[in-house]
Amino acid sequence: MAQSPSSPAADESQGPSGAAPARDPLSLPGLAHKRASDIPYAVAFLALLVFPFVTTGYPLTVLTEILVFGLFAMSLDVILGYTGLPSFGHAAFFGLGAYGTAVLSAKLGISNLGISLLAIVGLTVVAAAVLGWLAIRTAGVYFLMLTLAFSQMIFAAAQKWTPLTGGSNGLPGVRRPTLFVPGLVAADPRAFYLLVLAVFASSFFLLHRLVTSPFGRSLIGIRENEVRMRAMGYNVKAYKLTAFVIGGAFGGIAGLLYAYFNNFVSPSDVYWTASGTVLLMVLIGGAGTLVGPVLGAAFFLLLQNALSSLTERWPIILGAVFVIFIMFVRNGLVGIWTQVSARRG
């Protein structure tokens, strides 16, 4: 077997490789499933695309919110679910995105989507690189508390830097975004929803590519056995930092969408409990699955909306669901689904 590695082109050569197993060697520990086909994704996307033409009004608003928080939860999943970094400060990037967008729109009159996206991604990448580089020097519960401290620093800035952020009153007056040409505003619910869907779907596509790529598998390896990865020659620190920055950037994009959606940003959007809530969404849906966190966000928001008309006590039910999941349902909603279909199939 003493052959030198072939040139890069050879590895990605044409023709079927019989070597790759039919079953996906798992990001979801312990549950084997057949190679996922793309059809469910296509169907879901079509359904989401058609939805605003079937109904508008309140259901559309809820769905828009689900997509925004679904993106937020997905971005955390890259860091927490795939790389295994217990971040309790993800609201920081959401907040930077939301406040950045709000300041641009409400204070500077800039609501151009392209400019805002560039600004927010730039901001969150830099912030995540700095904070991530520092945080990765720790691990476990210390990493958790450090990320919490960092996000609280951002909260403190949001709360106290009144001239910029409006302080505890928040920042209202965020306009809906304009696209490409001034005057083309995605103002009405349907247009805005389609914009959010476009951003969400593109992000999902990119993140899906990421987590099924060799890089994504490396993240999983780091989560599973960091020491072994290092012994295999992986630069674990660099991978962790990259994952943290990617997660932060998409978290910021979610924040941007939120600011446009809500037209108002306040410090409570950056408070540490917001980091806990998105963590809840990821774990209820199923960490390390990318789809799971989106489902978790949907579950959370639907419950909040459905139950709050029936009872104001939805946090108790949600909290109880969460506690039950943590104790008995290790892999979240996706885990349940996979076990059910494995038993059938």
Partner: protein, 246 residues
Amino acid sequence: MAEILRLEQLAKHFSSLQVLKGINLSVEAGERRAIIGPNGAGKTTLFNLISGELQPTSGRVLVEGRDVTGKPPNQMWAAGLSRTFQKNNLFFQLTTYENVRLAMQAHRGYAHRWFRSWRSLHGVNDQTRDILVRLELWGRRDDVVKNLSYGEQRQLEVAIALAANPKLLLLDEPTAGMSPAETARTIEMLAALPKELTVLIIEHDMDAVFSLADRIAVLNYGEVLADGTPDDVKRDPKVQEVYLGV
């Protein structure tokens, strides 16, 4: 034959405890060299010094004539050295296939690719299959490693080490804790390793040692007691007295 590994007066002290007292060893390319000795003789420490987990107190390690004394594990990995550990250090929640594939994608330099699926790395997947087939783990490729038998997990350790296509393979008690049947299969597998690969193997199982080794070095209290062919070592009175229980 070319010399692939040389240890010159390699020593390791921990405070006042002298674990290794000046080991001299020369290993030729393609050789199967066994390191045996009672517990506490310093065998694993010797491996740790060679593979970079520990720094020697004095002495030199030369691989293919180059001084690599004290280099860290990932640099030794890059220099063509691979090792297994006494205690299984695997990805227990992932499949057998993925365990080896992760090592292979790193070895072939594709670990950083982020857009195309891991399935598109045909070279990586083909070579992963080759190794798993060779080590008779192909049938278990979809099984999660924590469900593998202990013997199979030991084999997987070897598979991962081989994925890096090393020139020099260090095996630390590969048959430890195995049943006789598993041990026999492992001996067969080790015997079938490529002839160009140099293998250094720490073992307690004498069947394995005498059937595999070209030469045997006997360690005792941090010193080389005897070093020669299996027959020489068997007949050596010092060795018989100390180790073979005669």
